[in-house]
């Protein structure tokens, strides 16, 4: 009760300082928030590209329906495979005519359909990497009626590399941003506590216990962090909306990330306060 009252009183007595601390925390977390939005959207974009990763199995013309069914079922049984679509010779021709209208004449002049039927194998999320694609392709080798297997190996390799570089870069940058934000929060809290060192000394001199002195400061630190977290969230949201309207559409980050960010702000404020106040509890 005293703790809550005193923490709120602390904020009320020094609104400018509390506001400045919260603003510092907000700016620090704003940078982290922007980074999170960028990371999340890059991740989403990569995933959308990866969804197009597929293995196309070209089938010889003389295949029997039952044999084809067997291959299809075999593919569907693999954990790497999400779905299989059968494209008949006729469908292939229709597609070719719409995709390549400049050869319309050529297609019409032919009396036999030169295009093979195929199975388009769609891969499950998490298996859109070179090794999995290779595994699926290899599986078709035992079927004699399979003519050819295609899966843009080169761009799958590149996509995979991009994903790995992206993962490392976001890991390093994310850690760096979080550390910088942590240092800024710690500094903000230190300044707030330094401003009240006289009060802390007086409390000790009149016989308050360390726990009693510490508690309102911990609460105040946590509140400053949470307030800063909310401000940062608001700023990040506004920035995301602004970019979406003017430059290119961005997805908003998942709710768990926002809750995590605000909670991290509060936790940082709390821990930073605990550290900052320690020396003043030994001074007199």
């Amino acid at each position: 009760m005293y703790t809550i009252r005193e923490a709120l009183a602390g904020i009320r007595r020094a609104p400018v300082l509390t506001g400045l601390s919260a603003a510092m925390v907000a700016l620090a977390l704003f940078v982290v928030g922007l980074f999170a939005v960028a990371t999340y959207n890059l991740h989403q974009a990569l995933s959308r590209v990866e969804e197009r990763v597929e293995v196309v199995i070209y089938i010889q013309d003389d295949v029997r329906e039952a044999e084809l069914r067997l291959l299809e079922e075999d593919m569907l049984g693999l954990p790497e495979v999400r779905g299989v679509r059968h494209v008949s010779k006729d469908e292939a021709l229709v597609r070719a005519r719409t995709d390549l209208p400049e050869f319309e004449e050529l297609f019409l002049s032919m009396d036999v359909n030169p295009l093979p039927a195929s199975l388009e194998v769609e891969l499950a999320p998490g298996f859109r990497d070179p090794a999995s694609v290779e595994r699926v392709a290899d599986r078709t080798a035992i079927y004699p009626f399979v003519d050819e297997v295609r899966f843009g190996r080169e761009w799958i390799d590149r996509l995979h590399l991009l994903r790995q570089i992206g993962g490392i870069a976001t890991g390093i940058l994310g850690t760096a941003f979080a550390v910088v934000a942590g240092l800024i929060i710690a500094t903000a809290v230190r300044i707030a506590i330094f401003a009240r060192r006289d009060e802390i000394q007086i409390m000790r001199l009149v016989g308050a216990t360390n726990g009693f002195i510490r508690r309102p400061f911990l609460l105040e630190g946590a509140l400053t962090g949470i307030l800063g977290g909310f401000l940062a969230l608001l700023l990040t949201y506004l920035a995301t909306v602004a970019v979406s309207r003017t430059i290119f559409p961005l997805d908003w980050i998942p709710a768990e990330w926002t809750v995590g960010g605000v909670a991290a702000g509060g936790l940082f404020g709390l821990v930073a306060s605990a550290f900052a106040i320690r020396r003043y509890l030994r001074e007199v």
Binding site: V206, G207, R282
Partner: protein
């Protein structure tokens, strides 16, 4: 109640503020601690309040030893020994009442008792009319009284006062002394640092200790004992 044994206090590069000082104050005593400026009066009071620890020697107050009391436990001593600081150490932005209430609150007094007790303490030091004024609007003598009211708030066994009449006129000084005499009559042990020898002479019944360059050079009790 208070015992200093061969206490030396050295500040880095400043020499010895106290030099093998030994003195003993029994329960219920009232003593003046005099000496020139820089003789070590404030240092002695801070050591007794355990805001500092001796470079060597031992300070024992109310059963707590300077050697054994960690900084996380010093509150136990501070609830028995109050210090009226030379510079008051009040919270500038707050009223007289809030300053006294603060000490009660942070030492865990029941919430409903805080305000009536603070009001009563301020009335005791004659400040009832000014209790709702911020302390920075009070005169030196009035602030001194707020500091004394705060020091009395936790009903201490020992009261340390550092030049409490330092910048007060004759009448205000007498007022403070009356307050201390009342507390003493209630059984509080008092050690008061002062350089006002006239004041000391006005109370010949009280014990008089004199410091010079960190050493005890005069003790009225020892003289009496020596003569007897």
């Amino acid at each position: 109640m208070i015992e200093l044994s061969h206490v030396t206090k050295e500040y880095a590069g400043r020499g010895k503020a106290l030099n093998r000082l030994s003195l003993r104050l029994d329960k219920g005593e009232f003593a003046f601690l005099t000496g020139h400026s820089g003789s070590g009066k404030s240092t002695t009071l801070r050591l007794i309040h355990m805001a500092e620890s001796p470079s060597s020697g031992e300070v024992v107050v109310c059963g707590f030893s300077s050697g054994g009391l960690g900084s996380h436990e010093v509150w136990k001593l501070r609830r028995k020994v109050s210090h009226v600081f030379q510079d008051f150490r009040l919270l500038p932005g707050r009223t007289a009442l809030e300053n006294v209430a603060f000490a009660l609150e942070v030492t865990g007094a029941p919430r409903h008792e805080v305000e009536p007790r603070s009001t009563r303490l301020l009335a005791q030091v004659g400040l009832a009319a000014k209790s709702s004024l911020p302390v920075h609007e009070l005169s030196g003598g009035e602030r001194q009284r707020v500091a004394i009211a705060r020091a009395m708030s936790n009903e201490p066994l020992v009261l340390l006062a550092d030049e409490p009449t330092g910048n007060l006129d004759e009448r205000a000084s007498r007022g403070i002394m009356e307050l201390f005499r009342d507390l003493h009559a209630q059984g509080v042990t008092i050690l008061m640092a002062t350089h006002d020898l006239e004041l000391v002479r006005a109370y010949p019944d009280l014990r008089h200790l004199e410091l010079n360059q960190g050493e005890l050079v005069f003790d009225s009790h020892a003289v009496v004992a020596g003569e007897a």
